[in-house]
Each structure stands twice: as structure tokens, then as C-alpha cells.
């Protein structure tokens, strides 16, 4: 058959496409387990970052299990839920999206409780919108469920040098010591302030210069997602008589 005939061209294209599809599928299926493991390790590293522990990938799982005290799943009323899904495996994006369809009573929120040097810390996963795509992170509160112990953030495609700065140590360490409740115990969250927060502002940190929209995304994300845990925190405080 002449290689330039329509028949051969069609045949060639079809065979090539089938072979390529098979090869790529095999590769993705074969490599899948390794990739999932890497994503899992990375999640553990990010959560540990929020309680100010840095790990290498090879130690992440061990260190995580060393410090983790409890992995709690909460519903939107702040009640503990036990069921098929573990806190670690909850897809936060899916849970938060349930609010869009009005299914807030079906939402499940993961909470990670750590014990470090004898003290308890609560790590809350957060997720929101940056300028170009999603942003997410983990924020750890001390046992008083008010003071921030640490935070780690990341993003998918924010601008390097601008919005992308939210995943740097410099941005994240600002959150240490800030408080999410005001003097009367009302939830005010921590705001990322354009132009800089006042030095004595316990509810504000400096925004990224040139990364206003991403910074605003962080503010919004923190307010919305930490807010989901207030029912649980309040019930904890009531039961201890605070």
C-alpha cells in the first residue's frame, strides 16, 4: 500500500493512537501507587509544618504517627462523626463544595489533634481561592483553641514572587501568636492586611506586596473554614466549663 494513500494514512493514524493509548494507560496504572504515596507523604509534611515540624519525605510518615493524637471527623454542628471515611482521606474541596448545593448538613470536617512536648494542638485544614487557582493550607491552634501556633499554606498556580509567596516561611511565621477570637470571645479570624498590619494587631498579618488577591483569598479562606469548627470548639469549652 502506498504510504500516502488515504487508506494507509487512516490505518497508520488508528494504529498509532491505539498503541500510544495502551502504553500511556499502562504507565499511569503502573506508576499510580507510587504517585499516591507521594501525595500522601506531602500532605503529612504540610500538616506537620503547621505545628512547626519540618520533615524529609522519608521520615514524614513516622514523625506524623509519632505526634498525632487523634484524627477527628466533625459534622457541621460540631459533633464527632464516626464512619467509613478517615479524617486524613477526606477531600476538603468536596466537603466545602457541599455548601454550594446547600448540603451543609452533609459536610464532614477533618481535625487533626497533635501532642507535642506535652501540649495539645489542633490543626485545621483550609482551602480557598487565589488569583489563578486554588490555595490551601493548615493552621494549628493551641489548646486554648484561640492562639495560632503555626500555619502552612500552598497554592496551585499563583504568580511566582507575588501570590506564590504564601508558601514561604516568611509569610507563614507571621501567624504565630495571632488570635482568632477577640476579647469577648467572638470569632474574628486572622486577616491578611494590604499595606501591612499594625505591629500590635493580634488579628492581622501583612499581605504579600503585589499579591493582593491571593492575600485576600487567604483571609477569606481562614474566616470561612475555621468558622466551620466553632461549634466543636464551643462545645469543648462548654464541657470544660470555660
Amino acid at each position: 500500500m502506498n504510504k500516502n494513500s488515504s487508506g494507509f494514512t487512516f490505518l497508520f493514524a488508528s494504529v498509532m493512537v491505539i498503541i500510544v493509548a495502551i502504553l500511556l494507560s499502562l504507565a499511569v496504572i503502573g506508576l499510580g501507587p507510587y504517585q499516591e504515596q507521594n501525595v500522601k507523604i506531602e500532605k503529612m509534611q504540610d500538616i506537620l509544618s503547621s505545628i512547626r515540624i519540618r520533615t524529609e519525605s522519608k521520615d514524614a510518615e513516622k514523625v506524623f504517627n509519632q505526634y498525632i493524637q487523634d484524627q477527628v471527623v466533625l459534622n457541621n454542628k460540631g459533633e464527632k462523626v464516626t464512619g467509613e471515611i478517615s479524617a486524613f482521606d477526606i477531600d476538603l474541596k468536596k466537603e466545602l463544595d457541599k455548601a454550594k448545593t446547600g448540603d451543609t448538613d452533609k459536610q464532614l470536617f477533618p481535625l487533626f489533634v497533635f501532642k507535642k512536648d506535652g501540649k495539645i494542638y489542633y490543626t485545621i485544614p483550609t482551602r480557598g481561592k487565589g488569583l489563578w487557582g486554588p490555595i490551601w493550607g493548615y493552621i494549628a491552634l493551641e489548646a486554648d483553641m484561640n492562639t495560632v501556633y503555626g500555619a502552612s499554606f500552598d497554592h496551585k498556580g499563583e504568580t511566582p514572587g507575588l501570590g506564590a509567596e504564601i508558601n514561604t516561611e516568611e509569610f507563614q511565621k507571621q501567624f504565630v501568636g495571632k488570635k482568632i477570637l477577640d476579647e469577648s470571645g467572638n470569632f474574628v479570624s486572622v486577616k491578611v492586611i494590604k499595606g501591612g498590619a499594625a505591629p500590635d494587631d493580634i488579628h492581622g498579618v501583612d499581605a504579600v506586596s503585589g499579591g493582593t488577591i491571593t492575600s485576600n483569598g487567604v483571609t477569606e479562606m481562614l474566616k470561612r473554614t475555621i468558622g466551620n469548627y466553632l461549634p466543636y470548639f464551643n462545645s469543648m469549652k462548654d464541657s470544660t466549663g470555660n
Binding site: 494507509f8 500510544v20 507510587y34 504517585q35 507521594n38 507523604i41
Partner: protein, 227 residues
Amino acid sequence: MATETSVAPVVVKKQREAPFSVKNRKLLKDPLNDSNPITVQVLGICSALAVTVQMKPSIVMALSVMVVTAFSNLMISAIRNIIPDRIRIIVQLVIVASVVILVDQVLKAFVYDVSKQLSVFVGLIITNCIVMGRLEAYAMGNKPWPSFLDGIGNGLGYGLILVIVSAIRELFGSGKLMGFRVVPDFFYEKGYFNNGLAILPPMALIIVGILIWIQRSKNPKLIESEK
């Protein structure tokens, strides 16, 4: 009377080229200097700007481009005589895209930290003109093994430039090399600042321009004759 002399056709036995003959070694050496893909062929500039902020991603990117170019060259060369003309470019694209996806998947599975830094760029390898450029210029008209070597050679030439540019940008832009702090602390205390321009893309272009300048003044083969 016509005299027909029948002459037995002279059969010239095609010499099989030794795998690393002088001609094949040239395929590896030339792209490092005389026909460097970035400074002479002026291909692959875009990724040279984006990835060279630090050395480590640059090296991984260079290795990825080398692997993709070499194996795409090899595969296209192997089927070069049966590719229908009308779908030639599309076939090249499919092969390159598949190799790139494979490279991306392997990186994600085995060097996850690095693959995150490269994320977007790995997918952009297919748009790197070096890959398509070498396919058209060499692989479509040459045998598989030399085509493979040509891919390796061009990958090395590309890598050489990437390493030089990224070393300069990382050193002056962050005071580090390969992630290790090189500029001592007392420099910063005396008032030394990391150069902010170095981590922005235009710096890569400036450095490449300077490299082209240096290369042309030193390499006699690249000096164009006076008209």
C-alpha cells in the same frame, strides 16, 4: 553497430557506521558549541527563561528535554519511511507528547519534590522548539541510532546553557547554588543584597545574549565573513 557493453552493476557495500564513529561522536559534540541549540540555533529560549531561576530544576529540565528529544528522535527515525506525508507533523506531536507524559509521570512517581517545581514546565517540553526542530531537521532524514545521538547531543547543549544561566541567576538572585547557601552571612550584614532582577525572566535573556556574544567572539566557525 551499437555496441552494448553490459557492465555488471557496481555494488558499493554501504559501510555500517560504527556506533561511536567520528561522525557519530560529532553528533554529540557539535551541539555543545558549534551548533548549540540555544545560542546558535536559537531554539528553546522560552524554557531557558522560566526554569533557570534555580539550578536544581534546570538540571532536571535539561535531563528531561534530553530524554524526550533523544527518544522522540529515535522513534520518529525508526518509522520515518512509513509516516504518511499528510499527517507527518501530527504524528511527531503525538510521539513527543506521549514521551513527555511518560517523563512527567515517572518524575511524579520517583522524584516528587522536583516534579512539583517543574510541574507546568514539563508539559511545556513539547512546545520546546528544540524537540520538533531536531525531528524535522535530523530524525526525518537519518537513521535511528544517529538520530538518538543527535537528540542526546542537543539535550546536552541545551543543558549546558541552562546550567550556566541558572548558576548565575541562583548565585546572584538568592545567594545559593544547588540550594546550598554560598554567599556568607557577613556579606549581607555589610549591606549586600540579593539581586532581585536575577530572579526575573529578563535576566535569563540578558545572560543568554552575553553568552552568544562570548561564544561568537571565541568560536571562529561562528564568525560570519565580512560581506
